[in-house]
């Protein structure tokens, strides 16, 4: 199947038409994303119950030591929840997300070749490449975590040093408008840089380092197309980011438990929609770009 549809390459609409057609013709390729979303939901539920038996045995001591005992009480646990969920989600994405992404890529390949889909076979096939996939996921998430923090730190230090304005504009502009836009752009770029390394492991059977280098090379070769196809689904995550940035207001207006709902919406949109679309579209682009490689 050609992702470019009628060969008028680069047509955005054509790409997405193909992707949605692909999902509709074989919806089972979404199963790995639902598995990951189920794991994340379970994790969220466990963390939301961290002050209670039996999870308090595991979670109460670190929460008490790192953030203080107040965060084991109502409503403060819900205030802390987005932060601990963020860190635990990184761990889950490295150990489970890498596997489900690999499975999804294998299912997309099988579907593209009109081969029968077998989840068990896919799982064991991808499991053999688990180490490389896990290392790639670790590099991706650790890079994202540390790089995404930097602009906020730089701006914070700049304005804390006593500067009132930067390029004639005050901190309100830089923190309120520029930083969210820059964060979105950085997230798109980082995701795009590493996005082809996963198919290199699953489809071409490359090892971690080779896949990493080849993936970056392929991105550089198709950077505009890749950035656009990665950015579009990620735009869907902006409302979730806005909700997450306003959890304090929502908690005050409704109840602190609303934070759990916001995080759950984040899982649904982030994993089941955004991750699925990004993985499918980039895997199809990868198949097309590398079909003549050995």
């Amino acid at each position: 199947m050609s992702i470019m549809g009628d060969k008028k390459t680069g047509r955005l609409l054509g790409i997405w038409k193909s992707v949605f057609g692909f999902i509709l013709s074989e919806p089972r390729i979404l199963i790995p994303f639902f598995i990951l979303a189920a794991c994340e939901t379970f994790l969220l539920w466990v963390l939301a119950n961290s002050p209670h038996f039996p999870f308090n045995f595991v979670f109460a001591p670190p929460i008490r030591r790192v953030w203080g005992p107040i965060y084991l009480h109502y409503p403060y646990i819900y205030e802390l929840l987005p932060r601990i969920f963020y860190f635990m989600k990184i761990v889950l994405s490295i150990f489970v997300g890498s596997l489900t992404t690999g499975m999804a890529i294998h299912l997309i390949l099988a579907s593209d070749k009109n081969e029968p889909i077998n989840l068990k076979k896919t799982f064991f096939f991808v499991f053999k490449k688990y180490l490389s996939l896990m290392l790639l996921a670790a590099v991706l998430f650790i890079t994202v975590h540390f790089v995404m923090k930097q602009p906020a730190i730089v701006f914070f230090k700049y304005f804390k040093a006593g500067h009132v304005k930067l390029l004639f504009l005050g901190p309100k502009f830089w923190f309120g408008m520029f930083l969210p836009a820059l964060s979105f752009f950085m997230a798109v770029v980082l995701q795009a840089i590493f996005v082809y390394s996963f198919p290199y492991v699953v489809i071409k059977g490359k090892k971690f380092l080779v896949a990493l280098v080849l993936g970056v090379k392929l991105f550089l070769k198709n950077w505009i197309k890749t950035l656009v196809v990665v950015a579009l689904p990620m735009l869907l995550y902006i409302p979730v980011t806005m909700l997450r940035n306003n959890t304090a207001v929502l908690a005050d207006k409704f109840s602190p438990e609303v934070i759990v709902s916001v995080l759950f919406i984040g899982i649904l949109i982030g994993t089941v929609v955004v991750d699925a679309l990004v993985t499918i579209v980039t895997t199809l682009l990868f198949i097309e770009a590398t079909e003549h490689e050995s």
């Binding site: 119950n49 002050p51 038996f53 039996p54 009480h73 109502y74 409503p75 109840s255």
Partner: protein, 275 residues
């Protein structure tokens, strides 16, 4: 082990997660009641009676459900506060009196309850009756956190009402009260706190020369308890109240010379520049 067994273990763990502690449930109930009460605090005059009754009911539930906990004390206080903001002082006092606290073990809470009763009198413009309550705190719970600030609170009341005789009298009472407490403490930190409160009482009463004398004593007596702050305070009093810039300069120079690592050196230099 079969998949079914794993599933049963999973279900068991899920079932256990309904096990929120009583404390957590009480915290949630308290948060919800406080949330509803906030609307009344914001607009006590415009609160319809049924809304007040609803919030009181919420607090009453906590009282009934957790009778011997701190939550019940908090709920009882809150019911009293609701009547207080609604202007029903008699009911507020009767609610505060219902507080079931062992004063030997929880002196601070008892002091808070008596203080709330005193405040209800104050809001009703019955200062003499409020003062009786405040003095009872001073005599019954001398080392509670409330009683340490109360003498200064009383001085401030007379300052607000522009009663010069009252200010002086209450200041003298504060000084003798803190002096009596000093005789009961043995720790250096306790002595320092009480001397600082004496200085604060004198400052509140506008007895500037006596205040700088006491501050000087604290600088000499407690060299490890932030003497630079006392010196800065002295400099401010000399400059702004006693109009003696030379003495103010002396104090600032002492900070720079004797405490060069102090956080106040920059401030002291800037102050010196203005003198």
């Amino acid at each position: 082990m079969k998949v079914r067994n794993y599933f049963l273990i999973f279900l068991f763990v899920v079932a256990l997660c309904g096990c929120e502690s009583r404390e957590f449930k009480a915290e949630r109930q308290m948060w919800r009641a406080h949330k509803r009460a906030q609307a009344i605090y914001k607009n006590p005059k415009g609160t319809p009676p049924f809304q007040l009754a609803q919030v009181q009911k919420e607090y009453q539930k906590i009282l009934d459900k957790y009778p011997k906990s701190l939550f019940s004390i908090q709920a009882q206080f809150s019911i009293g506060h609701l009547y207080l903001v609604m202007g029903d002082f008699e009911r507020a006092r009767s609610e505060y009196k219902k507080l079931n606290v062992d004063c030997d073990k929880r002196g601070n809470l008892c002091a808070e309850a008596i203080f709330a009763i005193g405040q209800s009198y104050e809001l009703e413009e019955k200062w003499s009756q409020a003062l009786i309550q405040y003095k009872s705190i001073l005599s019954s719970f001398p080392f509670s956190s409330k009683s340490l600030d109360l003498p200064i609170y009383i001085i401030r009341h007379y300052q607000r009402t522009k009663d010069a005789a009252g200010v002086n009298r209450s200041c003298d009472e504060a000084l003798s009260y803190y002096a009596s407490l000093k005789s009961k403490t043995k720790a250096e930190k306790g002595d320092y706190i009480l001397d600082s409160l004496i200085a604060r009482s004198l400052i509140e009463a506008g007895r500037w020369q006596e205040a700088v004398d006491v501050l000087e004593k604290t600088v000499i007596r407690y060299p490890n308890m932030g003497p630079d702050e006392a010196l800065m305070l002295k400099a401010v009093i000399y400059k702004n109240k006693l109009k003696d810039s030379a003495k103010a300069r002396e104090e600032l120079q002492r900070i720079l010379k004797d405490y060069p690592k102090s956080k106040l050196t920059k401030q002291a230099q800037a102050f010196l520049g203005k003198l």
